[in-house]
């Protein structure tokens, strides 16, 4: 056995032993009481936002305005990237080979399963951990495996382009802004939830605006990240031989 591996193993076991003994000797106390702030959220979230999931309630209701601006920042970053990369679809159309048959066939199935799970994450965001951003990111995982496996050119041929995806993202964000703005019409504050939106529709719990935000945010994140992945897959040759200043 080489000396390097031996040293690494010794270091690893020493770290394990030290952390175990430290945990036993120091015995860090787990808090037995909730802090005032936590208590407030535990007791009031369900009444004030009609959502049992406090994290989503904080993100889209208590500090909703903050989250909406955050979404805008990511949108601008993606549009900026698109401007810098000067998406030329001709360059991408040349990449059309992709990986082997086994990878292609299994990716088709896996992408479908990932998208189903992503939808479950996004639609249950106001009921259980999850929400628009994690759901949309999970969809982006599906598209990020599809792009290298089938080659970006194949996607462009099927009519999926960065420009279209950014347009979808723009539409989703506009709708999201409208959901935030609509309560103003009735003289309420911006990003109002329960005073304006119903807690349930036909007996199905939707927690007012929370599920709408989650749905639109997942659409925006999924299309945004797919657009990024698409323009990052422009082959290097497309830039080589260009006019260098």
């Amino acid at each position: 056995m080489s000396r390097r591996i031996l040293v690494l193993m010794l270091l690893f076991s020493a770290t394990l032993i030290v952390s175990f003994t430290a945990t036993i000797i120091l015995n860090p106390a787990t808090p037995s009481e909730l802090k005032e702030l936590a208590k407030y959220y535990v007791l009031n979230t369900i009444n004030e936002t009609a959502s049992p999931e406090a994290v989503t309630a904080i993100v889209w209701d208590y500090r909703g305005l903050d989250t909406i601006y955050e979404t805008l920042v990511l949108y601008l970053a993606i549009v900026g990237g698109l401007a810098i990369f000067k998406m030329s679809e001709e360059a991408l159309l040349k990449t059309r080979i992709g990986l082997t048959l086994l990878t292609k066939t299994s990716t088709k199935i896996i992408a479908l399963l990932i998208t189903s799970i992503a939808a479950a994450i996004a639609f249950h965001g106001h009921l259980s951990p999850g929400g628009g951003f994690p759901g949309g990111s999970a969809v982006a995982v599906a598209s990020m495996i599809i792009i290298p496996v089938f080659a970006a050119g194949t996607l462009i041929e099927k009519g999926i382009s960065s420009t279209k995806l950014v347009a979808i993202r723009g539409a989703a964000l506009t709708a999201l802004g409208l959901v935030a703005l609509l309560p103003v019409v009735r003289g309420l504050e911006i990003v109002t939830n329960q005073k304006f939106y119903p807690a349930s529709i036909l007996g199905l719990p939707i927690s007012g605006s929370l599920s709408l935000y989650n749905l639109l945010e997942s659409l925006a994140v999924a299309s945004g990240f797919t657009a990024v992945a698409l323009y990052l897959s422009i082959p290097e040759e497309a830039y080589k031989g260009g006019s260098s200043a």
């Binding site: 082997t100 048959l101 086994l102 292609k104 066939t105 299994s106 088709k108 199935i109 479908l112 399963l113 998208t115 189903s116 799970i117 939808a119 479950a120 994450i121 639609f123 249950h124 009921l127 259980s128 007996g203 199905l204 719990p205 939707i206």
Partner: protein, 161 residues
């Protein structure tokens, strides 16, 4: 029509089991999502709808799954375990012919070869697989096929071809 139902059903089952609830809200959203996803993806996933109407294919697949995961995997693992102790290895890449036509059948054969220890499919070209093998007992394509993929192929043809 059948392909949309089958793909939608798979999405529905995955969605509901991941959500881990059978509340009316989950079932309602699951229905919406499975309709949308199957409408969008079924044409890419299913080529020959007629095969979905033949339930014995599914039964053979289930039988193959259990046989593969237990007997075939066990034998392959024991073989490699023996070789790690005796170091009796003669690695090399062999050419293996395939007769299966459909892409699902071929993928199943490739996956089955790769998932058993000792053999890995490294490429596929013109009805041949190129398999990296831990102990090349014969470089002859037909002999190699007998040792590596014949059983997988018989099942794959019954299930998908």
């Amino acid at each position: 029509m059948m392909k949309y139902i089958v793909v939608g059903l798979i999405v529905f089952i995955v969605y509901v089991s991941f959500a881990g609830s059978t509340s009316p809200y989950t079932l309602a959203t699951a229905t919406i999502i499975s309709v949308i996803l199957s409408a969008l993806t079924a044409k890419y996933l299913v080529v020959n709808e007629r095969k979905l109407m033949e339930p014995w294919r599914l039964l053979i697949l289930i039988y193959y799954f259990f046989k593969y995961m237990t007997i075939i995997e066990f034998k392959a693992h024991m073989d490699v375990v023996k070789r790690t102790f005796t170091m009796e290895i003669k690695p090399g890449i062999v050419k293996v012919p395939v007769n299966a036509k459909s892409r699902y059948a071929r993928s199943l054969i490739m996956g089955s070869i790769t998932n058993t220890p000792g053999t890995v499919v490294v490429d596929e070209k013109d009805d041949y697989f190129y398999v990296n093998w831990i102990y090349v007992s014969s470089p002859d394509p037909l002999e190699a096929k007998k040792a590596i993929s014949e059983e997988f192929e018989n099942f794959a043809i019954k299930i998908f071809d």
